[in-house]
Symmetry: C2
Subunit: 303 residues, 2 copies
């Protein structure tokens, strides 16, 4: 095989996923395990074990590098992980050293939502555009930015934090320590919270969605309000960055039919006239592969 092959990791709070990917984007092997609550050594050991499985299954003697998508707002050049709310036992560890030692491969780390955005840009919903924005609606809300055909990570590696745009000054408290962040109005957690505050028995965002689909007015109002906030946030991104396309992914994107009309109305109302109809809003295409593919692409670009 002549094509370069990289390892790529998506380090999630629920699962760790490791794949072997060629430079043209073909996934040769996929492995995953629950993240669990093991120690940092336990997690890094398990990632190394999955990497070894990938090496065997892909039949690759040497990987050019190991790209790691990490759920944190700051990634030091040295590889030390800062704030990781979903995997706190890794805080302060050095992912470049820990994985580098264990796999004998150079490690490149990137924010997970940035990686997913780049994955969709490489092989998914924003392919062929010049300027693209990605937003991931899950337990939290992440984002990533493609500017002039390159992933932009900003100083400190944490650009694209759409989830922490302050939409409602003094609003709902957020895990970041602030108040009124978009994440508190547009995530799965936010939908569940709105349902609970409205006295509904639905315990998950999926359940609220099912109620809305069945015609429940209160559940529909929750999605409509969530969609409105999302459109307001996206209008801010649109006015600031004037992208060609905004890609919406994550589990909450499954509720598309229930929130999208309100999102488009709010986006249109709050965007500058020249760009309110130009920007395309589309659903992500790559699902769980977006993060590992983007981490791999970022890694190939750094070589």
């Amino acid at each position: 095989m002549n094509e370069k092959v990289a390892l790529a990791l998506d380090l999630g709070g629920t699962n760790v996923r490791v794949v072997a990917v060629t430079e043209s984007g073909k996934i040769l092997s996929r492995q995953h395990s629950p993240t669990g609550d093991s120690s940092s050594d336990g997690i890094y050991d398990e990632i190394a074990r999955l990497a070894e499985l990938c090496r065997v299954e892909a039949g690759v003697s040497e990987f050019v590098a190991f790209g790691a998508a990490v759920p944190t707002t700051t990634i030091g050049d040295d590889g030390v992980l800062a704030h990781l709310p979903n995997i706190p036992q890794l805080e302060g560890t050095n992912i470049k050293q820990e994985l580098g030692h264990r796999t004998n491969t150079q490690v490149v780390a990137v924010n997970d939502a940035s990686a997913a955005t780049l994955g969709e840009y490489w092989l998914g919903a924003s392919k062929g555009s010049k300027n693209a924005v990605g937003i991931t609606l899950g337990t939290g809300v992440g984002g990533g930015l493609i500017v002039d055909q390159r992933l932009y990570v900003g100083t400190g590696g944490g650009a694209g934090e759409i989830g922490h745009i302050r939409l409602v000054p003094g609003g709902r408290p957020c895990g970041c320590g602030g108040k009124g962040c978009l994440e508190q109005y547009c995530s799965a957690t936010a939908i569940t919270r709105s349902a609970r505050e409205g006295g509904m028995s639905a315990a998950t965002a999926e359940a609220v969605f099912e109620l809305a689909e069945s015609g429940d007015a209160a559940a529909r109002a929750i999605f409509s309000e969530m969609g409105s906030y999302l459109g307001l946030g996206l209008s801010i991104v649109n006015n600031l960055l004037s992208p060609d396309v905004i890609v919406i992914g994550g589990g909450v994107a499954s509720g598309w039919e229930q929130f999208f009309p309100a999102t488009m109305a709010s986006l249109y109302e709050n965007s500058l006239p020249d760009r309110r109809s130009r920007v395309k809003i589309v659903r992500a295409l790559l699902g769980d592969d977006a993060g590992v593919l983007g981490a791999a692409k970022y890694t190939f670009q750094q070589l």
Copy 2:
């Protein structure tokens, strides 16, 4: 002379300024005239006359190009100017053709606030940084973005519209047709409006500033509120783009002492913890030269 020399234009609602600039940033000639209310032909003729004066004074036989900083949110690749609220008689005209014919020079157009941001990045307050944001507080509020050491203009040429971030949904009506834009809370016009609404006799932002400096509580409150809104807007930019530095320019920046403490408090409160102290907020250094210098630099980069 071996150095390349460009012409550069700053097309303002009050004045048109034309300069001749070397590739290293030395201004060889400066010319300006009132924009007045002449026809589009009258304005373009006057710009061409100023360009000819620059040619003579600079002793340059040929300019490599003519960079034009234009106050509009959209600049078509073809050079047709769209919405220009301050110089409506130029709407629909083709600046590349009109100036190209008259000066026999290739014309490159760029948004005026983007140009000012690039000017400050080239030779001013954000020089040497990697990621920088510029914001111009004048009659309106403009902005520009330097990402990974390059000016980012976005699709349509109008990225960086910090002035049209919707800070207050349903708030003060804005010239863009929307409501609650940052511009309506942080511009000179906004300060004057707040004074008028508060029953003050001060008719200009300068007069409100003088009152504030003399200790007037109501005038101080106006600047404090304006500074707070500005900090909220800058926190959104900071969370999205994670720049090294934000440069504040424009006439209202002269009121720095009155609004800056509130700006920093609000920026700190609303920024993600990893970047609330990292970003530097500084005053612009180049004054009226920022726009022409940035237009020239952008032009040199396009050659």
